[in-house]
């Protein structure tokens, strides 16, 4: 929101807040450890509000569940905002001293009456009003979101629309009030912090705009850095399509199965001149690669290193096992690759690499290995060795006078999902994850789980009845891009017109054949969450399905 990408609050604050909103997040299944913190708050008496098209396991714990239609998040957020403003519940003191752009923002949400909000989102006006009033009146409130917000063509605007709500009510920069994107792995946060994103150097220093930072890195590395943002994932696939990208080095990712519109993305990966895959497991992407580097598992086999969790806490990793066979630590492989390519960086230890980071990233400067060891982890920003780390971010907005630039309101304009529902594709498919499986299943399909039942097409009982399909019956599922087959499963968390599938079992059912690679120009994230599909019984629907497939040729 204000430069650095990280959750503003600590887990402790989550436990001690008064109101929690999970927006586009089924944390109970997808962030179960975080959900324990949520439950501590709930058991203390905090109210929980869940915004999700499905009535998920998380929603079952909620005081109110707002089951908005897929892709109507901005409409809902703007309606909540208008209601807060019109009810006189906006935090005017905070808005006037710590924010900018409120007048334009207020004008932009004016059209979103409760009635209009209900019309677009499907959520009853009264329920929207309840959420608006509860959030605005809460003494402390934390808003959390995940991929239900970001995996849309309007993903960035979705996030901005939520940030607006926090600015409107002053629910940021105070103990127990904040904004938190939940991270799906132990080190998603750390990856971004270390600069594994196309536009930032380590410590969220912009490679293009921050000339001083760039100069520091250039001096330290003894090389010139191109002052331009790199490609994000979607742009890389576009570059492959245009023939601008022909060699790919993939570390710990499985794009052969994780990308939207997988038929297309597989073809692009196959068309590469050279593909290197580095992983702890032989993934589908490794199968396709020209060279595979087996790497050690960083959380137990690598000698040292750090991870950073959703509350920005940097923690030390320790080696417990020797890696098997020829597997090597990631950083050893990278340095060795550099050496073979003519750049001998030697083989620095992970602590030496960390020391270099500390010298270049101000927000990590105070975190020596010794301090991380002693404290059990420190939260960035931690600019000096006598700094205790930061419990929450943006406290500056409450300082008198406000330090630094005001926090800007953004105009977020609602647009429906790209993949429109039509007579031919009347059902909205949304994808997600389940408790016992993770993403493409690379890490989780190796062990068995009593909860796992493979890929299914989840439908509400009413839709199953009207389609005349039985639980377990294999049906054909088609989108504008292709079709797959999967067994039907009844799911009472869904409502008519809304279907759900996971992405965990790509070897059996490649759900991403259906999804669109249309992506948010600002983030490059594809709209995994909103696909228009049709469902046909096998046999009777064959001809229509064939028609769909041929229709695709013109795309």
């Amino acid at each position: 929101m204000f430069g650095a990408g990280g959750g503003t609050s600590s887990y402790r604050e989550v436990e001690e807040t008064d109101l929690l909103i999970l927006w586009g997040s089924n944390a109970r299944e997808t962030h179960p450890i975080f959900f324990h913190h949520v439950l501590k708050a709930v058991r203390r008496g905090a109210s929980l509000h869940v915004v999700d098209p499905r009535r998920t396991g998380s929603a079952q714990w909620a005081d109110t569940w707002l089951g908005l239609d897929v892709g109507s998040d901005i409409a809902l957020a703007n309606t909540v905002a208008r209601e807060i403003i019109h009810a006189g519940l906006a935090n005017e003191a905070f808005i006037s001293r710590a924010t900018s752009g409120f007048a334009e923002y207020r004008a932009s949400v004016e059209q979103w009456t409760l009635e209009e909000g209900e019309r677009v989102t499907g959520v009853p006006a009264q329920t929207i009003r309840e959420l608006a009033h509860a959030y605005a009146r809460a003494e402390r409130a934390i808003l959390c979101w995940t991929l239900g917000i970001t995996e849309h063509v309007t993903g960035v605007d979705n996030v901005l629309a939520l940030i607006n709500l926090a600015l409107l009510t002053g629910h940021v920069g105070r103990y127990g009030s904040g904004l938190n994107p939940l991270r799906g792995q132990n080190n998603v946060q750390g990856g971004g912090d270390m600069g594994a994103i196309p536009n930032k150097l380590p410590g969220f220093q912009d490679v293009q705009d921050d000339q001083d930072a760039r100069a520091r890195f250039e001096a330290a590395w003894g090389t010139k850095l191109a002052p331009k943002h790199g490609w994000h994932l979607s742009q890389m696939f576009e570059a492959m399509e245009h023939g601008e990208l022909n060699t790919l080095y993939v570390l710990g990712e499985n794009p052969a199965q994780s990308e939207a519109d997988s038929k297309k993305s597989l073809a692009l990966l196959e068309g590469l001149d050279f593909l290197i895959a580095q992983d702890i497991i032989m993934t589908k992407t490794c199968d396709m690669a020209d060279v595979v580097f087996p790497s050690s598992a960083s959380w137990c086999e690598a000698d040292g290193g750090t991870v950073t969790n959703s509350e920005r806490r940097v923690q030390r990793m320790r080696k417990a096992l020797d890696p098997p066979g020829l597997a090597r630590d990631d950083h050893w492989i990278i340095c060795e690759l550099a050496r073979r390519l003519g750049h001998d960086w030697g083989h620095p230890s992970l602590e030496q690499a960390w020391e270099e980071l500390r010298s270049l990233s101000p927000m990590h400067r105070g975190m020596s290995y010794a301090r991380l060891e002693e404290t059990g982890g420190l939260q960035w920003p931690c600019p000096s060795e006598d700094h205790p780390g930061s419990l929450f971010l943006h406290g500056r907005l409450w300082e008198e006078p406000v330090q630094g630039p005001p926090a800007p309101f953004s105009i977020a304009t609602w647009a429906p999902p790209i993949d429109e529902l039509s007579e031919e594709f009347p059902i909205r498919l949304t994808t997600g994850r389940r408790l016992d499986s993770y993403n493409t299943g690379v890490q989780t399909n190796l062990y068995s789980s009593p909860l796992r039942h493979g890929e299914t097409l989840d439908l509400c009982p009413e839709d199953a009845a009207s389609l005349d399909v039985e639980p377990g019956e294999i049906v054909r599922i088609s989108s504008r891009r292709g079709s797959i087959e999967a067994p039907v499963r009844l799911e009472s968390a869904l409502r008519p017109g809304l279907a759900f599938m996971t992405i965990h079992f790509g070897d059996d059912v490649d759900v991403n054949v259906l999804t669109t690679d249309s992506n948010d120009a600002k983030s490059g994230t594809a709209e995994f969450k909103a696909t228009a599909i049709r469902i046909d019984k096998r046999g009777s629907g064959e001809r229509e399905a064939a028609g769909v497939a041929s229709g695709e040729a013109g795309r």
Binding site: A62, W65, T127, L451
Partner: protein, 616 residues
């Protein structure tokens, strides 16, 4: 055990049974047919606040469907937003609920201490031979052995529970094989009769004076016999005045723990946190205890009046009667009395036009001895497993729903009526210096006239047995079990023991809840010990390890001694029992574990039951 996902759906009848109790579901997300509500739902704290409905909802399902099926269980979980595993944990806590299919009609045949003394063992043997083993479905009826049903004055006893559209529960008393077989064959048991105290009316009875003399279903009759005079007097005294009288009376709790009632009331009255709750503990499940049943069946309005006085004194607006699940007649009488009292404005808002508001909810247990423990009762009412809680905090600070709570036994409460009417000092003049007033004793076993007797504290055991007609003719007394399974055995040499709290304590025994079981020489005490040991093993809630493991080890050791297949010497086994008892006394958080070895150790120490070696 494997993890199973239960996606079973309820039958229409199961849904109806649950909905009839909880009311129709408000949204499709908790079970209604889908209307237009697919875009929102409310729940969370407000839904979870209904958790206390779990136990009565399980009753509703069990009563109508005969068992708690996976589909029915799931439906209850959905309606109350409780995880199904949690509902399962609660349902399986209670003996009267079954999560396996069960015949719609079940005859529970008591095989506990007193009924055994009355020949239930041979009754059950004959039954097994005639119709098959327990649990076998005989044309829609099955029979099961049961722990004490609280009908020891009319042993042997059984309880028929018939599920279906109009569920029926009926107690069978002084039953014989032919009677039982007829009922299993489908005969409708004759309506139960209330127990009439054997003592003649007017012989100084205070607590039992109305029983058998009035119509327990008539509020007018109750009032004509002095009912509601005490409440009127209490309202004149004011809350502090009532507590002062109760303090002056030196009334001690009659449930077994003998805590000063006035101190308890005073502590709750002083708690600034509101609301306060009152619980009348009518879960008397101690084998051999039936006194509270006699009051509830014969004088139910007295319990309501006494609770109203307690609520007035301690600032409670809401009270519960927690009634054990095996007392259908007491339940009907109490339900009827509550209804009448409400109709007449004696419960509800502005009682006697004196600004007093108080109402009572009846909560029915489902066969769990531990729920009579004063903190386990909270969990049970709240919809959790009835597991005791650590003290402190004490119930007077944090009890039911975490609020200040008075928990009193039925007999304790009805004692406050004469205290308020006649004054605490007059009450304290009865009995002894430290055990004031009169006490109800449940005399059963080998006496001519078993029943509930009211005598002043200080009456000797011999006098009490004589009051009960003496030892049955042709029998000779070998032991007396005082205080029930959690009490201890005394010998015929101890008959001059004055029955007071202080004298029994000095003699190393206890009055407990007033159980006096006379045992004659025809009864094999070793076998009785196996019953007592099995009872504690079965009723241990399993929360504290010493009790969970200790009650099993104790039962095994007793079984080895009784069967003669001992490990090492008899002395080794006896030392083991003593050591287990010590561990349970030291390290269990509630009275169950702390007293689980008392009767057995007293039989070893005082009766010398294994002195001659093993029993084989």
């Amino acid at each position: 055990m494997d993890v199973h996902l239960l996606d079973a759906e309820p039958t229409a009848a199961e849904r109806d049974a649950v909905d009839a109790f909880l009311g129709p579901p408000m949204s499709s997300w908790v079970g209604a047919d889908r209307v237009d509500d697919g875009h929102s739902a409310h729940g969370g704290h407000s839904a979870r606040a209904e958790r206390h409905q779990l136990l009565p909802t399980l009753h509703a399902l069990q009563e109508h469907a005969g068992w708690i099926s996976p589909g029915g269980l799931n439906y209850i979980a959905r309606r109350l937003t409780i995880p199904p595993a949690d509902v399962y944990g609660v349902a399986t806590f209670y003996a009267l609920f079954s999560v396996e299919p069960r015949a719609p009609r079940v005859v529970h045949v008591c095989d506990d201490v007193v009924c055994r003394c009355a020949g239930s063992e041979s009754l059950i043997a004959t039954l097994t031979e005639a119709v098959g083993p327990p649990g076998a479905d005989l044309d829609g009826t099955s029979w099961l052995p049961s722990p004490c049903l609280g009908q020891c004055d009319r042993a042997p006893a059984a309880l028929v529970i018939e599920s279906g559209e109009s569920p029926v529960e009926r107690e069978l008393t002084a039953v014989d094989v032919d009677g039982l077989l007829a009922v299993i064959d489908g005969a409708t048991p004759s309506p139960p009769r209330s127990a009439v105290p054997p003592q003649s009316a007017g012989s100084g009875l205070r607590l039992l004076r109305r029983i058998g003399q009035i119509d327990p279903e008539s509020l007018d009759d109750y009032r004509a016999h002095g009912g509601y005079a005490a409440l009127r007097r209490a309202l004149d005294l004011g809350p502090e005045g009532v507590i002062r009288e109760v303090n002056d009376s030196k009334l001690m709790g009659r449930g077994g723990a003998a805590f000063p009632t006035g101190r308890k009331w005073d502590a709750v009255a002083r708690q600034p946190r509101r609301p306060h709750y009152l619980i009348c503990n009518a879960d008397e499940s101690e084998p051999g205890t039936f006194k509270d049943r006699v009051i509830l069946e014969g004088d139910p309005f007295s319990v309501i009046e006494a609770m109203t006085i307690a609520a007035y004194a301690t600032g409670c607006e809401h009270g519960y009667v927690y009634l054990r699940g095996e007392y259908p007649l007491a339940q009907r009488r109490l339900e009827h009395a509550l209804e009448q009292a409400r109709d007449r404005g004696l419960l509800g808002q502005d009682i006697f036009s004196r600004g007093l508001s108080f109402d009572i909810e009846l909560r029915k247990g489902a066969g769990a001895y531990i729920c009579g423990e004063e903190t386990a009762i909270f969990g049970s009412i709240e919809g959790f497993r009835g597991e005791p809680r650590n003290k402190p905090p004490f119930p007077v600070e944090r009890g039911l729903f975490g609020q200040p709570t008075v928990v009193n036994n039925v007999e304790t409460l009805v004692n406050t009526l004469p205290i308020v009417l006649g004054g605490g000092a007059a009450f304290a003049a009865i009995g002894t210096e430290r055990s004031t007033g009169s006490k109800l004793f449940c005399v059963s076993g080998a006496v001519e006239q078993p029943g509930t007797f009211e005598v002043p504290f200080g009456t000797t055991l011999r006098e009490l047995l004589e009051l009960a007609g003496g030892v049955s003719s042709g029998r000779s007394l070998s032991a007396v079990l005082l205080g029930g399974a959690a009490g201890s055995f005394v010998t015929p040499k101890d008959l001059d023991l004055p029955l007071t709290l202080e004298d029994t304590r000095a003699a190393g025994t206890t009055l407990g809840s007033g159980v006096v079981v006379a045992i004659d020489e025809s009864v094999d005490i070793g076998r009785l010990l196996t019953v007592i040991a099995a009872f504690f093993r079965d009723e241990s809630c399993g929360q504290c390890v010493p009790c969970r493991v200790g009650t099993v080890r104790q039962e095994e050791a007793v079984a080895r001694l009784v069967s003669g297949r001992i490990r090492g010497t008899v002395q080794d086994e006896l030392s083991l029992i003593a050591e287990i008892g010590e561990a349970m006394r030291d390290a269990s958080i509630c009275g169950l574990g702390q007293t689980a070895s008392a009767a057995i150790e007293s039989a070893i120490g005082r009766l010398g039951v294994f002195d001659g070696g093993t029993r084989s």
